[in-house]
Amino acid sequence: MKTTALFLTLALSASSVAFGNDDIRVAPLVRDGSVLVSFSAPAAITTELRDAIRSGLVVTFTYEIALRQRAFLWFDRTRARKALSVSVRFDNLTRTYEVSRMADGKVIWSQTTASEADVRAWVTSFDHLRVTDGATLEPNAEYELRIRASISPRRAWSLWPWGRDDATGRATFTYIR
């Protein structure tokens, strides 16, 4: 019975979530017509994830940023989309972290540090990321910034192979130009 229960639990349970929904704090900002976003996920690095990082795995935090315009009777229309990922790898010999950021598939920043606090900040906090220049946005319209975060590799198994978001965050704002 115990084995069957374990099997069913392993087979049918969803992936363990590193941090819950709406744990990403999103702060949109409009500056010079452009839409910037600052967000942080302070609960992203759990004990379990810290162990995974300390095991030397390359742990990648992927954030998908979508700027959408609400529609009343139809699907929301996505006005802009941006993908950002941060990879971190811990070297147990040198006891240093190698952190690199990629935006839209390109490495935009890389750093090595021995400070875990620095790593925590680099992988969970982002300031003033430019989402769009606002050319296609309607002034005085209501928009929503939604950020979905996923962390790989998975640390749990689900029979359903197609993953889901580990965390999401959203914020609405009025685009004033």
Partner: protein, 770 residues
């Protein structure tokens, strides 16, 4: 699926010709039943199984990341797909089996049981194996991460890390000490020999293998070029391997010279060793950053490799522990996949085997039903050469034989039907003839039961079709038909001798004369197959014969009587003249006698004239005449003559003209009215009345004249004698009136009947053809 062709069901009128055997279609074999397809499926399954076994063997070589991200994803996707396939196959076939069972298709229950048995036979062991395998995987995974291994790896990694950190701290301290040793301003004056001596002394007293001094070159004004670190002097031990990462040292020096902080870096050198560098900033007397000291220490290749190996082992161990869930998932997914492969294969195999077994039998059952429904050209295409194939061949041979027999039967049936139609046609012809003829025919079965009665027999014998089936002997026991019974009895007593006689039966007080003949139908074997009674109404013939006889008598009487009347009359008159002078008494007697003789002779002359007229009545000269006008004229003659008798008429205005001899018909009407008035006068009843009416009987094509009175009526026994010559109920009269009336009506092609008037009286009905 079956090789069948469905022709229209042959009808009785036109049996459909059977198709030639070569016209039977051959069924298209399903791709799933193709041996090549089955072999291909088996090969694909075996190949997939081999690939998974190979992958399982290689799983230790694959990185946990690859296993958990790629392999696990693929296995999970395959598992979900196979679950869907299994669910689809099961649901589809369960629905199919339920539908087949509800439609009571043959072998549906057998197929369901076979599939369920195979599924149960595979489901139980497969699930058991999966559970046991899962348990083994789980316990094995627990053993992977035992505490001793954990402690050893953690300790070794800690040692390696500590050693690495110690060496790095040492080289950092060396670089900082050199940076403090170098006097301010030396880099500016570029006293290289002095610096080289300083560094050589330092190199001899420490574990540093290389020490270099860099001078900071500030950025060019305008920002065209950034700051740079330029090597002033460097000294290394001869045992230091060649450093391929010189640029790394300059970059490290620049970072320290510009940042004012100690920086470290490690570069791999030739031979596999590790060159650990530390850079400390140099300041002038004012504290301004002017350069940097870079000290390097060589870590032996073996030591570095061992340290990295320890670290790598520890990391792999920890990674496996972190990814323990996904790794277990890989093996569980593999087990699940194999279980699903077995279940899908078992389900499909069960269905396939059940179908292979039951389909030929179903085909035979279907074929039997088709044959039973008359589709004798139904054929089954044998799919196998086994016993079931032989059975199907036998079925087809049987169907072919049935087809041939059916053709022969069809031909025989067609011939029989043709003959039956001929017989039926002949029977209808005879029935029509019998129905139209005036002769009555009654046929009987050998046991005396009546089989047919034609309409003339119904009319003459007052029978109806309800008599069919009854015993003729019982039926002819009826009083009015009793005279016919001896005829039937004669056919029983003497079946080989036809019996014929004339019989008279009473009908409503009248006599009907029938010429009857009864015959037994004797077959070739001498047995009586039936009896036939034929009756013919000869009443008119007998009447005509009597009338003709009376006419001959009348003519002779007229001739024989009239001739002596004149001499008698003359003699009487002579006698009267002779005794004219006789005494009064004698003369009175003579006068009285001679007057009586003369009067009676005159009466006899009149009687003879009537006889002569009856005998010499001319043929009627018919012209289209208005019967209503004739009736009116005739009744007009009686106007005012009989005040106490009411004469009334009821004339049908729709009566068309009728071809009659007006004088003769007027005589008929007058005669009948005279008789009615005379009867009414004699009876002396109150409110005497005579009524003459005409009627157009459209359905019968007749004109009808009815003369009736409300007198005492006629006795039934006298009705048939009324029209006989010299029959009279009156004291005076020749008895020829109604005989002449009947003759006139008869010569007009009509008929006259006497009957009772309601509530009392006499009614004469004359029917004349239109």
């Amino acid at each position: 699926m079956l090789g069948l062709r469905e022709p229209p069901v042959p009808s009785a009128e036109a049996p459909a010709p059977a198709p030639p055997p070569e016209a039977v279609e051959r069924p298209a074999r399903r791709a799933l039943d193709s041996p090549r397809f089955l072999l291909l499926v088996i090969l694909v399954l075996l190949a997939g199984l081999a690939a998974f076994v190979w992958m399982a063997r290689r799983s230790t070589d694959l990185s946990p990341m690859f296993l958990s991200e790629v392999v696990l994803y693929a296995l999970s996707a395959i598992d979900v797909t196979m679950l869907l396939v299994l669910a689809f196959v099961l649901v589809r076939n369960v629905v199919k089996l339920v539908v087949e069972r509800r439609r009571a298709l043959p072998f549906a229950r057998f197929r369901a049981k076979l599939v369920a048995a195979l599924l149960a036979m595979t489901l139980v062991p497969a699930v058991l194996v999966s559970i046991i395998g899962s348990e083994i995987i789980r316990t094995s995974a627990e053993r992977w991460f035992s505490a001793p291994v954990d402690d050893v790896l953690a300790g070794a990694t800690s040692i390696a890390g500590d050693y690495y950190a110690e060496r790095r701290a040492d080289i950092v301290a060396r670089a900082e000490r050199v940076a403090q040793t170098v006097p301010p301003g030396v880099l500016v004056e570029a006293d290289v020999p002095e610096l080289r001596a300083l560094l050589a002394a330092e190199l001899r007293t420490s574990r540093a293998r290389v020490i270099e001094l860099y001078r900071l070159v500030p950025a060019a004004s305008g920002g065209t070029t950034g700051p740079d670190a330029v090597l002033v002097v460097g000294i290394a031990t001869p045992t230091l391997p060649r450093d391929p990462a010189r640029a790394s040292a300059a970059r490290l020096a620049l970072e320290a010279a510009t940042g004012g902080m100690v920086e470290t870096a490690e570069d791999v050198v030739d031979g596999g060793g590790l060159l650990m560098r530390a850079s400390a900033p140099l300041r002038d007397a004012t504290g301004r950053l002017v350069g940097a000291v870079v000290a390097g220490e060589h870590l032996d290749a073996a030591v570095a490799a061992n340290a990295r190996r320890i670290t790598t082992a520890y990391e792999q161990y920890n990674q496996a522990r972190v990814l323990r869930g996904p790794l277990q998932g890989v093996y569980l997914s593999f087990f699940l996949m194999m279980t699903l492969v077995i279940l899908v294969s078992a389900t499909w195999l069960g269905l396939y085997v059940a179908k292979r077994i039951t389909r030929p039998v179903q085909q035979l059952a279907e074929g039997a039903r088709a044959i039973g429904a008359g589709r004798l050209d139904y054929r089954i295409e044998p799919e196998n050469a086994d016993e079931l194939g032989s059975l199907i061949e036998a079925f087809n041979a049987m169907a072919a034989e049935l087809t041939s027999s059916q053709r022969r039967l069809d031909r025989s049936r067609a011939e029989l039907e043709r003959k039956h139609l001929e017989v039926e046609e002949r029977r209808r012809y005879i029935a029509t003839v019998l129905d139209r003829i005036a002769t009555g025919v009654v046929s009987m079965a050998p046991d005396g039961g009546i089989t047919t009665i034609n309409s003339a027999a119904e009319r003459l014998l007052e029978l109806d079709q309800s008599a069919v089936g009854r015993s003729a002997f019982d039926l002819f026991g009826r009083p009015d038909l009793e005279p016919l019974r001896p005829l039937l009895a004669a056919t029983v007593d003497r079946p080989h001798e036809p019996t014929a006689r004339e019989v008279t039966i009473g009908r409503d007080g009248r006599e009907i004369h029938l010429a009857a003949a009864a015959t037994a139908l004797v077959g070739a074997d001498g047995h009586v197959e039936g009896r036939v009674l034929v009756v013919d109404d000869v009443t008119p013939l007998i009447r005509a014969q009597r009338v003709a006889a009376w006419r001959d008598v009348a003519r002779r009487l007229a001739h024989e009587i009239k001739n002596p009347l004149t001499p008698i009359q003359l003699s009487a008159e002579r006698l009267k003249r002779h005794f004219r002078d006789a005494p009064p008494n004698a003369r009175a007697l003579v006068d009285e006698c001679t007057s009586a003789i003369v009067t009676e002779v005159e009466a006899l002359k009149n009687l003879v004239d009537e006889f002569a007229q009856f005998a010499r009545m001319p043929a009627p000269r018919t012209v289209p005449s208005d019967l209503n006008a004739l009736v009116t004229d005739a009744l007009g003659l009686y106007a005012g003559l009989f005040g106490h008798i009411v004469l009334e008429s009821s004339l049908d205005t729709s009566l068309p003209p009728v071809r009659v001899d007006p004088e003769q018909l007027r005589r008929v009407i007058i005669n009948l009215v005279d008789n009615a008035i005379e009867a009414l006068n004699a009876a002396g009843l109150p409110s005497p009345a005579v009524r003459v009416s005409t009627e157009h009987a459209v359905g019968d094509g007749l004109a009808r004249i009815v003369v009736s009175d409300n007198g005492p009526g006629l006795p039934p026994a006298d009705r048939d004698k009324l029209f006989m010559p010299y029959y009279s109920t009156k004291q005076r009269g020749s008895g020829l009136g109604l005989a002449i009336v009947r003759r006139i009506v008869a010569e007009h092609g009509g008929s006259i009947e006497a009957g009772d008037e309601t509530p009392h009286g006499t009614r004469f009905t004359i029917e004349l053809p239109l």
